[in-house]
Amino acid sequence: MTQPFLSINGIRKNYGNVTAVKNVSMDIAQGEFMTFLGPSGSGKSTTLYILAGFQDPSGGDILLNGQSLLSTPSHKRNIGMVFQRYTLFPHLTVGENVAFPLRIRRRPQAEIAERVKAALKLVRLEGFEDRMPALMSGGQQQRVALARALVYNPPVLLMDEPLSALDKKLREEIQFEIRRIHQETGVTILYVTHDQEEALRLSDRIAVFSQGEIDQIGTGPELYSNPATRFVAGFIGDSNFLDATVVTSNAGKAKLALGDGAVVEGVPLHGPSAASSRASLMLRPERLSLSRVSVPSGIAVTVRDITFLGNNVEVSTATPAGVDLAVRLPFGHEAISSLARGEQAWLTFDTASAHAFA
């Protein structure tokens, strides 16, 4: 087996008796775009700061090309970083900001000028050298920060929610730029976000953080179609959850009894699986079919609301027990023509595409 490019081995971080990061491990390939995705407070930034050397881990190690980074101080790690807030040096022009890392490294003047120019070109800000940061928009500032972080060709680029202060439209524009820059430079990127859409759009792989631990690492489609935990299932994409009881389980497939007597078979089950234990059945809204006549093993529901969402229509329904289930159907689907609130309906699904979590 070849040695991984960047390896995070069992990182832990305690603040007094608060555990910010519990046990984080992963291998990252050179040139990979890896995103840490998770809700606020799940330990993403802490992990990133440990990589940057701003925090010492309470345990574990970080290896770059097989060498531990931990004893190297931040300023000698040669890592690039773009922060959540705008961190341009306010007293320096854009050009001087980007030149800063090279000045620190005492590069010759001609080389500095050339590389600054190239870096600004990379982020499409040619000709902005003499601008002061305060006179630039947030999006421009973050692009300058990106140029500054890349100008010294760091092997790894860290980005901690760099777009969270921007509005949606600008955010999408810069996401596109970041993808392009990743492809052009081939730099390895570790990206932190709490926005699943952003993560899906940018990443090669995503590590889903929850309460200081990684629940699952995988590509976007893997996480979506094969979530390892209920948390991942709920965090990536829209989902419905239905309480169920395990009747039998065999080789990761379970037979489940739903509340109103319906029984479904062959559902992939994650987690410990004793018979008659409780489980949570996850159903994607777009994987549900809606029938207006009674079907065996269908879930009986009442239509609550119908919302037009452009190319989709979302039908909000509720089981007699009061559990809400959303169904998403393409616009113009025959099942919903003249469907009215209060109507009775039955929901069915392909059991192999559903997931149950014990």
């Binding site: 701003f54 931040s74 300023h75 040669n78 306010p90």
Partner: protein
């Protein structure tokens, strides 16, 4: 309506009249002193019978005035440098440190500013007598530094509070070691706070009277001590001349500060 200038009605006239009076009250003594310094009357008769530069000539003819001004300048310069450096370090420690009793420590650093100076002056005088430092430049510097330091800690502390620490972190990741990052990035970014600290420290030392009276010796006097001892004898117009120069100096300082503020905005 009471906070809308255009809708105050009759109250407005009343308030404007009062403000005009207060402005006169505040400015008149200053104008008056400046005028008297050019008046020929030894007894400070106003309006003066005629005009003269005599008091300024007297002032510059007496080397003790010039010498005390130079002493003041020297002490204030040393105090300013020490106050800014020590104040920067202390403000940094207070800003960055996460330890119990931080607020208490900040309050302790600021107490020399709020305690009656005379208590500090007497206490230091006693100590310096014991240490054999009474009447030395060191005694002056230490005493003035004690009351200048709170200004530095407040001014630089406020600036640091408004400074996003991630900017310094960014400089460190760019390859600068922590002190390099502070000197090349943090210090320029909070230069307004440092400038404020320097101005207030300088003024605190330059204008200090009470501590100076106790620190002074017959051979080592600052300008305020010289004015004080002269004032206790008589109200000679020479003091008016000295005061006028001090007022001119103040105005100069205000203009510099205003220009600095304007430059920072642009």
């Amino acid at each position: 309506m009471l906070l809308d200038f255009d809708k105050l009605g009759g109250v407005r006239t009343l308030l404007i009249a009062l403000v005009a009076l207060v402005c006169l009250f505040l400015i008149l003594p200053i104008v008056f002193i400046a005028a008297l310094s050019f008046g020929s009357s030894q007894w400070l008769i106003f309006p003066p019978p005629s005009w003269t530069f005599k008091w300024y000539q007297d002032l510059f003819a007496d080397p003790r005035w010039l010498y005390s001004a130079l002493t003041s300048l020297k002490i204030a310069a040393i105090v300013t440098v020490l106050s800014v450096v020590i104040g920067f370090l202390a403000a940094l420690g207070l800003d960055r440190g996460r330890f119990a009793g931080r607020d208490l420590l900040r309050a302790l650093f600021l107490t020399p500013m709020i305690l009656p100076v005379v208590v500090l002056a007497v206490a230091l005088y006693a100590l310096f007598l014991k240490l054999g430092l009474a009447g030395t430049t060191i005694a002056f510097v230490i005493a003035h530094l004690l009351i200048a330091l709170p200004f530095s800690i407040i001014s630089i502390g406020n600036a640091l509070e408004g400074f996003d620490r991630s900017i310094e972190d960014a400089a460190i990741l760019c390859g600068a070691n922590p002190w390099e990052a502070r000197l090349r990035v943090t210090v320029p970014a909070i230069s307004h706070g440092i400038f404020g600290a320097a101005v207030f420290s300088f003024l605190a030392s330059w204008d200090e009277v009470v501590l100076a009276i106790f620190m002074a010796s017959p051979t080592l006097q600052t300008l305020p001590v010289k004015i004080w001892t002269t004032l206790r004898q008589d109200l000679t117009p020479v003091i008016a001349a000295a005061s006028t120069l001090l007022i001119a100096f103040t105005i100069l300082l205000m203009i510099v500060a205003a220009l600095f503020r304007k430059g920072r905005k642009a």
